[in-house]
């Protein structure tokens, strides 16, 4: 089991240490870790001379956990991810200052989330009831009175029930439940312009504010398109196995009900046509972006970013639509926004290669970003959402959106 958790800032400073068992881990291990070569340091599981280290990096903060004995590494990693999720949820983001400013909350949370190296309470709903998240009121209160406890005196009612994700008997004057289909499109277009792989990773996100102990059933019109899926613990397996229906008692508030994957899509909404020619030390680049198949809704916040190869010494790029920025680490971002109706956005310009190089022999990969509101490109449709007992004043809502996930266009 885990023996210790360290939180490291992006400069390698140990911001926080939490010893979990009697086997104390000296913080010198962090110094050792930080001094390793980059390729070794970025491994998620590291065998150091004294300990096994698990690490995840989230928003510049390294979560480092140590153990000396065999344990499932994925368990450690998943737990660290959960800690990072909970912290960023509590603190409204994650960065060095936020962690340092709220170190007491971080300590209190860690203490609740893990006991003797084994996860204890990781359900955000219950944690929120045990340790109040910092908010404006509590902050003001602490300024005025000098004291505002954020530790609850009583055990959350959900902690012991058979649905640990739900507080027992919340009361709302208006009952609302919203379902969002949030999809991400992963695609690879190879150097011949061929669509090698195109699939959708989607999540069914819900926001529920329902009184009492509601029992929901969500069914899809075409569940057969789903390739793989993973469910929130609240989803019952039996109804899905038999009828492909999601039956569950929802947590209170925002949560991810399920995630799914739809494979082998035929088309992407956008096309990106890059061209590059290099000759005698300079390259000419031109990239065209346009709509390939109209999804029926506007495609928004289109961006294109790529890393210039190391051998490029300077770049002069301009576009007929949107803005182009080149950062000092040779990352180039072209923000297009929406495709104008009158012209095809085009990025063009020249790259100067380092002296001694005639032609470019390595090529960048363009990462495409976009967002489409109101449509799920996978074609998945929600048929209906039923409640076993319908509370008074019930609002149900459905939304969908698609954005680009790992959308790579190789040059």
């Amino acid at each position: 089991m885990l023996q210790c958790i360290f939180l490291l800032s992006d400069s390698g400073e140990v911001m926080l240490e939490k010893q979990l068992t009697g086997h104390r881990v000296d913080r010198s291990i962090c110094a050792w870790f930080w001094d390793q070569a980059d390729s070794f340091k970025s491994l998620p599981v590291i065998a150091s001379p004294t300990h096994y280290l698990f690490q995840i990096v989230r928003d510049g903060i390294t979560f480092l956990a140590c153990t000396q004995v065999e344990m499932p590494p994925l368990m450690a990693i998943e737990f660290l991810c959960r800690v990072a999720d909970v912290l960023s949820d509590y603190l409204g983001g994650l960065n060095e200052d936020l962690v340092k400013d709220n170190f007491i909350i971080v300590y209190e949370l860690l203490d609740e989330m893990i006991d003797n190296g084994f996860p204890l309470t990781t359900e955000p709903n219950i944690l929120r009831e045990m340790i109040a998240p910092p908010n404006l009121v509590s902050k003001m209160l602490s300024v005025v009175t000098g004291n505002a406890s954020n530790v609850s005196d009583t055990l959350p009612s959900g902690a012991g029930s058979c649905v640990p994700w739900r507080p027992t008997d919340p009361k709302y004057s208006s009952n609302e439940v919203y379902v969002d289909l949030v999809e991400e499109m992963d695609a690879i277009v190879n150097r011949d312009g061929e669509l090698v792989k195109c699939e959708i990773y989607g999540e069914v996100q819900m926001s529920s504010q329902l009184t009492g102990f509601p029992d929901l059933t969500l069914s899809f019109a075409n569940p057969s398109v789903l390739e793989d899926m993973r469910f929130h613990p609240c989803v019952r397996f039996r109804p899905w196995e038999s009828h492909q229906v999601l039956s569950f008692v929802p947590p209170d508030g925002q949560f991810k009900l399920m995630s799914y994957r739809v494979k082998k899509l035929k088309n992407t909404p956008l096309y990106v046509k890059p061209q590059i020619t290099s000759d005698s030390g300079t390259c000419r680049v031109s990239v065209l972006v346009g709509i390939r198949s109209d999804p029926g809704k506007t495609i928004e916040s289109i961006t294109l970013s790529f890393q210039l190869p190391h051998c490029v010494s300077s770049a002069d790029l301009s576009s007929n639509h949107g803005t182009v920025t080149i950062l000092s680490n040779k990352t180039c971002t072209w923000t297009i926004g929406r495709i104008p109706s009158d012209k095809t956005p085009c990025l063009s310009g020249t790259l100067a290669l380092e002296t001694g190089l005639e032609r470019l022999h390595v090529y960048p990969t363009f990462k495409v970003g976009f967002k489409i509101m109101g449509i799920a490109l996978s074609g998945l449709r929600i048929e209906k959402l039923d409640l076993k007992t319908i509370p008074p004043r019930l609002y149900k809502g459905f939304r969908a959106q698609t954005r680009a996930g790992e959308f790579d266009v190789r040059l």
């Binding site: 902690a159 690879i188 190869p309």
Partner: protein, 1000 residues
């Protein structure tokens, strides 16, 4: 010019940051010590205490030692404020071990809190109390955990389950049975949350106590989907281990597929292999590797080591008795049923654990259902992606066809981390099939142009691997690779671009691996490579090509004709080469000379001589050494004029043979599979770091866990075994089930009844109504009322190696009659009894025979100096002492006769010790006392070795007291095997106290 604006902006941003930080604990973290903390801790205001504690925590967070505040902090444990309490607990847990004395002060408050009506307070108190790790309070903590394990609140019970490993961690032998009992109780809890935590406790406390699982197996399986995700991970593993230990591996599963194929015509109905027959042969699984994997899952480190040293015996030979099948085994069926929906879990660790169960247990045709869920995990965080890939790689190595249709999932996106890319490449090269290879190669072509050159080099290596796996495709690969070599070498000054050299070297290496398969058909490629020598600038690549010149110098028709030219070129460029290349040139020159044709021989000889001369005056040691070595070896060749000339002298003949052997050898085909690989259980840490992490346990030996017919009996028996000590005091039975079976218990074993003649003897006549008595190997009945017909059948079974030794049946045994049967027993472990079951009149009575510890050692003769030096090396935790009284000497008649009293005492002690255990008397220290009456200071030393492990064990007995009175003995044992040492110590202390009649 815009200075003022700049400053405004700066102050604004500062101000906004300050606003954001108002009300947080920022100032406490930044300057924790800007006020004096000590008085705040003693303040009567909760808020000030709170602030002080926060400052202390800030200091802890920053790595300062603030344990000096401990006494003041401990006082605040009594605080009513939950926040202060929480902070105090945080502080306490951090420092309790450093300040044990002060930590004791807090115990009373914990005790009080444990009775609090608020479950949260109870849980906190329990967590902290168990967490402060003091041996002194362990009994208290254990009692508290016991109480909380029956608490009405689920949360408290969960914390109780979590507290058990903390107590177990203190290594208190005497509490081990109680802790295991609590684990059993909590595993039996009706709340899934508690069961999950109990499963975690089980894994870390007693992972092999399968009787605890056996009792609740069905219930645990049913509750599994409702258990919290973290508990699920460990519970899945535990259930799997139980099933393997109880029923063995499954015949239809992948693990035994090899076995199955041979034995019962399994091949035909095997869907997996059958399905893929239409495709290509390489699709079916690698039977050798699969059996290796399954072997690895089960074998411990010792077996692994013996396997890698000795001859390889891959073919797993599982006894058919040790297997089971899904069809007729309910337990296996349930396990598969309850774990398969978990493949949909949101937690990737659960998915992987569930996949591991399916992988090991599921029938071959069902294994493919783990594929999609595993692939879906690749869409999670980078860190989990890496771990999942590490595991998928093993699956794919064993059964490439599982993943072959999903090759697209392993295509690389630009945002992947380098390690993930490398693993994906390896996957692609493993699962490529003739149908998918064209798409994969097209992808590879893209990757070669990636700006990350290390990744590009890996891609080139992967192409080589693909070509090696699929003999049909090399031509396409070769052309691409050759083009790459040409392009890379013309790409300009390679020194400019780092990593480029790596790609080139890999390209040459990949070409080499392809050529190796069938050099003759690739003659043209070899020639092309030779031609490109001039443009290839990277030393390692050049060296490889030059090496190929040597290896293939007699291949085909064209190459031998080119040799003179190539050798000339090499001689010409020798001076400007790197030493790595120079060494290869020398080797190649030697090989060329040996295989030279008649017409070229003179020319080549000249060139080789020239190269050797150059080499002799090289700056590099290695090159010079290699040159001298070659010159000596080739001397016979260089001296003669014709290549075929027969040398007369036999010595030269030998030289020729040696040279032939060193240089003329043909390349051996590369063995495709490294059989010394070791695999670890899927999902384990060891599989990721590729060595056995401490605490890694392979699957238990199939069918090593045998449930006895009297289930409850075996449970209580097991708990008894766990108790250390052979003193045989009748501890109260601590069976979990109230409907215990105490009458069997007391009958089964009574260790104190050793007879002193030194034979292994254990009587089972302690019960109120003794029925049948075993003495040694003799079975006798001393039953009062006569019974007419009795059948006696004796079976022995070891705990781990269950063997049923059928004994000859005694047809009838009259009262008072005794019968003798001999069994030779070698005890594996001093705590494990031999189990006998006694059948008579249709009844079945289990009996356990325990060995006398005193005879599990053998005398070890050493000198007193060696004794003392060994003793000094075994201090601290290896040393145990116990006191006891000794009275035998008083009765000794010689005492009165005026004999030397010390001698008499020595004699009687030695007699007692040696008649009860197998020791060697090393020395006797006589006391230097003022009176002859005072025996204080008399010291006897004995030495021995443990039979099973040959570990030395030293015993020192020190006497205190007057000669004519009871003596106080201090028995001290030094031994590395602490458990054995402790038990033997108890045994010695016990027999020393007994007054024996034989002394008189």
């Amino acid at each position: 010019m815009f200075n003022q604006f700049g400053s405004t902006a700066e102050t604004l941003s500062k101000a906004s940051a300050a606003v954001l930080r108002i009300g947080t604990d920022a100032h406490l973290y930044d300057d924790p010590e800007d006020v004096n903390i000590a008085p705040l801790l003693d303040s009567k205001f909760e808020s000030e205490k709170c602030e002080a504690l926060k400052r202390l925590l800030a200091l802890i967070a920053q790595g300062f030692d603030v344990s000096n505040f401990f006494p003041q902090v401990v006082k605040n444990v009594a605080s009513q404020s939950s926040e202060v309490k929480k902070l105090v607990y945080l502080y306490l847990l951090h420092y309790a071990e450093k300040r044990p004395n002060e930590a004791l002060l807090s115990i009373n408050y914990f005790q009080k809190d444990l009775g609090d009506p608020n479950p949260l307070v109870r849980a906190w108190a329990l967590r902290t109390m168990a967490g402060i790790r003091l041996h002194v309070i362990a009994p208290l903590a254990l009692a508290a955990v016991g109480k909380c394990a029956r608490d009405p609140a689920v949360y408290v019970r969960k914390c109780a389950a979590n507290a058990l490993p903390k107590l177990h961690d203190l290594r208190l032998e005497e509490h081990a049975p109680a802790i295991e009992e609590l684990v059993g109780i909590l595993l039996n809890d009706h709340s899934p949350g508690v069961v999950g935590a109990a499963a975690a406790a089980f894994t870390s406390i007693c992972p092999n106590n399968f009787s605890l699982i056996g009792k609740n197996y069905k219930k645990l399986c049913q509750i599994l989907p409702d258990v919290e995700e973290w508990g699920q991970i460990l519970l899945i593993g535990t259930l799997l281990r139980y099933v393997v230990a109880r029923h063995g591996l499954v015949r239809e599963s992948l693990m035994l597929s090899l076995h199955g194929l041979e034995s019962n015509g399994f091949y035909e109905k095997d869907g997996l292999v059958g399905d893929k027959k239409d495709g290509d042969k390489s699709d079916s699984f690698d039977a050798n590797l699969v059996s290796l994997v399954s072997k690895c899952y089960i074998e411990g480190p010792d077996e692994y080591l013996s396997r890698s040293n000795g001859v390889d015996t891959v073919a797993a030979s599982f006894d058919s008795k040790e297997t089971t099948s899904v069809g007729d085994n309910e337990d296996v069926k349930i396990l598969l049923q309850c774990t398969s929906p978990l493949l949909w879990s949101n937690n990737s660790a659960v998915v992987l654990a569930a996949a591991g169960v399916q992988w090991i247990v599921a029938p071959l045709e069902d294994v493919k259902k783990i594929v999609k869920p595993l692939l879906f995990l690749l869409r999670s965080s980078t860190a989990s992606k890496y771990v999942v890939l590490c595991n998928i790689l093993v699956f794919a190595k064993a059964v490439p066809s599982l993943f072959a249709p999903h090759f697209e999932d392993f295509f690389i996106c630009s945002s992947d981390a380098y390690q993930v890319k490398a693993h994906k490449l390896e996957m692609l090269s493993l699962i490529a099939t003739t149908s998918s290879i064209s798409s994969i190669l097209r992808e590879f072509e893209d990757y070669i142009k990636d700006p990350d050159r290390r990744f590009a080099a890996d891609t080139v290596a992967a192409i080589g691997l693909c070509a090696k796996r699929l003999p049909e495709i090399p031509t396409a690969c070769l052309n691409g690779l050759l083009a790459l070599v040409r392009q890379e070498s013309f790409a300009g000054d390679l020194e400019l671009v780092d990593g480029e050299a790596g790609v080139l070297v890999q390209a040459v290496m990949s070409i080499q691996t392809i050529i190796e398969r069938d050099p003759l058909s690739h003659e043209k490629v070899i020639i092309q490579l030779f031609r490109s020598l001039d443009s290839v600038k990277v030393a390692a690549a050049r060296a490889t090509i030059i090496w190929m010149v040597g290896v293939y110098c007699s291949l085909g028709h064209i190459i031998p004709r080119m040799l003179t030219t190539i050798t000339k070129y090499l001689a010409w460029s020798f001076k400007s080469e790197a030493s790595e290349t120079k060494l290869q040139i020398l080797n190649t020159a030697a090989k060329v000379l040996i295989s030279a044709e008649v017409e070229d021989f003179q020319m080549l000889k000249k060139i080789v001589l020239y190269v050797l001369e150059l080499g002799e005056c090289d700056l590099n040691y290695d090159v010079r050494d290699r040159t001298r070595f070659l010159k000596k070896m080739l001397s016979y060749k260089l001296a003669c004029h014709e290549p075929t000339e027969d040398s007369v002298a036999s010595q030269e003949n030998i030289a020729e043979h040696v040279v032939e052997h060193v240089f003329g050898r043909k390349l051996k085909p590369f063995s495709p599979l490294n059989l010394h690989n070791r695999f670890y259980l899927p999902g384990s840490l060891s599989q990721v770091v590729l060595h056995a992490a401490p605490g890694y346990e392979p699957l238990p030996k199939p069918c090593s866990f045998v449930v006895e017919e009297h289930d409850q009996l075996s449970d209580s028996g097991r708990q008894r075994e766990a108790m250390s000590g052979l003193n045989g005091s009748q501890e109260s039975s601590e069976t979990v089930d109230e409907d215990g079976s105490s009458e069997y218990d007391s009958e089964s074993y009574n260790g104190s009844d050793f007879s002193s003649d030194g034979d292994e003897r254990n009587d089972a006549n302690d019960a109120a109504d003794p029925l049948i008595r075993f003495s040694d190997i003799a079975v006798s009945t001393d039953q009062e009322e006569p019974r007419s017909k009795r059948a006696l059948d004796l079976c022995a079974s070891y705990n781990n190696v269950p063997t049923l030794i059928p004994m000859e049946e005694l047809s009838c045994l009259e009262p008072g009659q005794s019968a003798k049967r001999l069994i030779q027993v070698r005890f594996h472990h001093h705590l494990l009894p031999m189990r006998l079951s006694l059948h008579y009149n249709g009844k079945n009575v289990p009996v356990k025979l325990r060995p006398d510890l005193g005879y599990l050692v053998k005398p070890f003769s050493i000198t007193i100096e060696e004794f003392l030096s060994t003793e000094s090396r075994l201090p601290g935790m290896f040393e145990y002492t116990r006191r006891c009284t000794f009275t035998d000497h008083i009765k000794d008649t010689r005492m009165e006769n005026g004999k030397d009293k010390f001698l008499t005492i020595c004699e009687s002690i030695t007699l007692k010790v040696l008649s009860n255990s197998n020791l060697h008397l090393v020395s006797v220290d006589l006391p230097v006392a003022s009176t002859l009456e005072d025996a204080t200071g008399l010291r006897l030393r004995f030495s021995s070795k443990i039979l099973s492990s040959e570990i030395p064990l030293l015993i020192t007995i020190t006497v205190q007291g007057k000669c004519n009175e009871d003596l106080n003995l201090t028995v001290k044992i030094n031994c590395e095997e602490t458990v054995f040492g402790l038990n033997l110590l108890n045994r010695i202390a016990n027999f020393m106290v007994e007054t024996s009649s034989s002394a008189s």
